[in-house]
């Protein structure tokens, strides 16, 4: 059994330090709110009755495609949240270790804390979902307002989503604990832990099975196959290519930046990126996907705008446009949240680096610029390649789109720009936290 005094000590410390809870709980609340509302939206499309019965298939398939597109940003956000609750446990655990807690006790406590944070956050996220329901109920599909009731997911489905998120938190906390070496005197973070690819694979398989199970709850049809093939061809293959090229592109642009840097900010940002181009790619891959989607779908919709007004499909183009805009903006918002969380975490993790730079006399505004450059610079490099290749691949469609409906193409560009702008904005929102962290006195920060 867990020794009670140690548990009490740990709980007291954990609760006293409210700030250390704010971020992970808030992160899980965002993930849960966004995930449940996305699934509710998709299920709404699946269950709608249409004036023209054959339209149901089209709508179900399109909404499944949207779900696939949103999966990557949502996974990014969830893993950003999970990373938060396993960060920097060493210092706190060391204290308990000296009190005499066994290493098993310590592990159990950290796991317990991560799970409680996830449970608290996920339930709070339920509140966020409740706020979104009436808003999403304003949507018009097939010429009618869908209404808030259509956006309410059955309770078991909500619980399933929550359970998945809590499981994810538990698994990634357990994995994070493998990095913590507990010796009789101290607790420190190991660097040489082999990464467990099979666990990631297992999580992916479980997630896919869960989605399919959810699917079976609501529809029985070939839509899933069609949607999967469509997604695979349209987005999967380009994304696979990008994920091979992504870190390389980040590295190339950082190398260039390092060579040509005139200011210390750009030099430090470039060196930081060069030290770990994969990290930047992980954070930004969804931005690339969404930009790619915006260009592709934007062109397609512009062409389809031609066919508008034919009997039976008069609403389809409008609905597709609404759906596409919603998907892309929702996706970008999700990524922006993930970037925000990652930035907050990295401010705390790299506190010493920033504080040392400030000690040498670097103004906080310059330090902030370094931090923001490590997001915006690789983002623009990646977008250039992603949007460039999308434009080349989709040249015929886009060309036709510009001819047929320049307004639609312009609209797509506006939406994509708005979405992309959310990312630097998110990183800017964390500037105040940097200033407080850097100016705080040097000692007495951990624990």
């Amino acid at each position: 059994m867990l020794p009670l005094p140690v548990v009490a000590l740990f709980a007291r410390k954990s609760i006293r330090d409210v700030r250390s809870w704010l971020l992970p709980v808030g992160a899980y609340a965002l993930v849960s709110g966004l995930l449940v509302s996305v699934i509710a939206g998709v299920v709404m499309y699946w269950q709608l009755e249409f004036a023209e019965p054959t339209m149901g298939f089209t709508y179900r398939m399109l909404s499944s495609v949207a779900l696939f597109i949103l999966a990557l940003p949502l996974i990014n956000l969830a893993s950003a949240a999970a990373r938060l609750s396993t960060r920097r446990k060493d210092a706190r655990l060391s204290g308990l270790r000296l009190v005499g807690a066994s290493s098993w006790t310590l592990r159990a406590l950290v796991l317990g804390e991560a799970i409680s944070q996830a449970v608290a956050g996920v339930i709070l996220g339920g509140g966020l979902y409740a706020l979104l329901v009436p808003l999403l109920g304003q949507l018009h599909v097939d010429g009618r307002q869908v209404g808030a009731v259509a956006m309410v997911l059955p309770v078991p489905a909500i619980l399933l989503c929550w359970l998945l998120l809590v499981l994810l938190a538990a698994v990634s906390s357990a994995l994070g604990l493998r990095r913590v070496a507990i010796s009789p005197l101290a607790v420190r973070t190991r660097r040489d832990v082999p990464s467990m690819h099979w666990i990631r694979l297992a999580i992916a398989v479980v997630a896919i099975l869960a989605v399919v199970a959810l699917w079976r709850q609501f529809i029985n049809g070939p839509e899933i196959v069609v949607a999967m093939v469509a997604c695979g061809l349209l987005f999967g293959v380009p994304m696979l290519a990008m994920s091979l090229a992504g870190p390389w592109i980040v590295g190339r642009s950082a190398r260039r930046m390092q060579r040509t840097a005139r200011t210390p900010e750009r030099l430090i940002a470039a060196r930081t990126l060069l030290a770990d181009p994969r990290a930047a790619w992980r954070q930004l891959q969804s931005v690339v996907l969404l930009a790619f989607v915006a260009v592709t779908v934007g062109g397609g919709l512009a062409v389809m705008a031609q066919g508008q007004g034919q009997p039976g499909v008069e609403h389809l183009v409008t609905d597709m446009r609404t759906g596409a805009i919603l998907t892309v903006l929702y996706g970008f918002f999700t990524v922006a949240c993930a970037v925000l969380i990652d930035q907050m975490a990295s401010i705390a993790d790299r506190r010493e680096v920033w504080a040392n730079l400030h000690l040498l006399g670097m103004p906080v505004s310059s330090i902030d610029r370094v931090r923001r450059l490590t997001v915006t610079r690789p983002m623009f490099a990646l977008l250039l390649v992603a949007v460039g290749s999308a434009v080349i691949v989709q040249a015929p469609v886009l060309g036709a789109g510009v001819l047929f409906s320049p307004v639609s193409v312009a609209g797509a560009i506006v939406v994509a720009t708005l979405g992309v702008a959310m990312v630097p904005l998110a990183s800017r929102l964390t500037s105040r936290s940097l200033a407080t962290t850097v100016r705080a006195p040097a000692v007495a920060q951990d624990l």
Binding site: A261, R262, T263, P264, L267, I268, R271, T272, L274, A275, V353, N356, L357, H358, L359, L360, G361, M362, P363, V364, S366, R439, P441
Partner: protein
């Protein structure tokens, strides 16, 4: 006319009940080399941070006299103090304050670039400094590829590269063996003497203190002795 370089007046700082600085006053002249000694917890680091404008003591005042008019450190905002540190002070701490991602040249060039010197001429100045400190050929190494003594000599180069008025060192040789620490100290004292830089060194090592012109001993946040060593020659 000669103003003192740094003046601390009646500094007090409390963390909890015991004072880290207890109504402490000290005057440091231009070009002096001052060793600050004392038992652990006697307030040496706290004093150094207050003198350098890294932190502001809870009461009292620090006046810094650069080339032009005197500045009251306590009257400055946090960003203004950062600017004073950048333009007038250099730092050598026990753990280097280096960025591990940057190369040696880039690390040392950083303060120059922050002062607005362009990258190419900053790197030239840096190369000259590295040569002088026996670090030629290490320009493109990372921190992890240097020995402890080399890393501290890089830190000395970085502290001196902007031509500061004062260099602050907090146990610069604390983590080194005696031979290496002699080399680092030599680099620090020689470069300061050559440029007339004021030097404030916190140290536990009597042999370090013996090579400074003046030794100030602290206990419980107060100065208990302040002795000038006459006849100390620049090494």
């Amino acid at each position: 006319m000669s103003y003192p370089q740094l003046q601390a007046l009646d500094l007090s700082q409390h963390y909890g009940p015991t004072p880290a600085l207890d109504h402490l006053s000290i005057t440091i002249d231009r070009g002096e080399s001052v060793a600050i000694m004392g038992p652990s917890g006697s307030g040496k680091t706290t004093l150094l941070h207050a003198l350098a404008g890294i932190d502001v003591a809870q009461s009292g005042e620090v006046i810094f006299h650069g080339a032009d008019r005197p500045v009251s450190i306590h009257a400055l905002s946090s960003e203004q103090r950062a600017d004073v540190r950048l333009r007038h002070f250099g730092f050598v701490f026990q753990q280097g304050l280096m960025l591990s991602e940057l190369t040696v040249v880039e690390n040392v060039a950083l303060p120059l670039m922050l002062c607005g010197v362009d990258r190419a001429s900053a790197q030239q100045t840096v190369s000259a400094w590295l040569n002088r400190l026996g670090l030629a050929g290490m320009e493109d190494r990372r921190l992890g590829e240097l020995s402890g003594g080399q890393a501290q000599r890089v830190a000395v180069a970085r502290a001196q590269v902007c031509g500061p008025d004062v260099v602050f060192a907090d146990e610069p040789t604390g983590a080194l063996d005696s031979v290496t620490s002699g080399e680092v100290l030599h680099a620090l004292l020689e470069s300061s003497a050559e440029h007339g830089t004021t030097l404030v060194v916190v140290t536990h090592d009597e042999s370090v203190a013996a090579r400074c012109g003046r030794t100030v001993r602290l206990r419980d946040g107060q100065v208990v002795s302040d002795t000038a060593v006459t006849g100390v020659m620049a090494p």
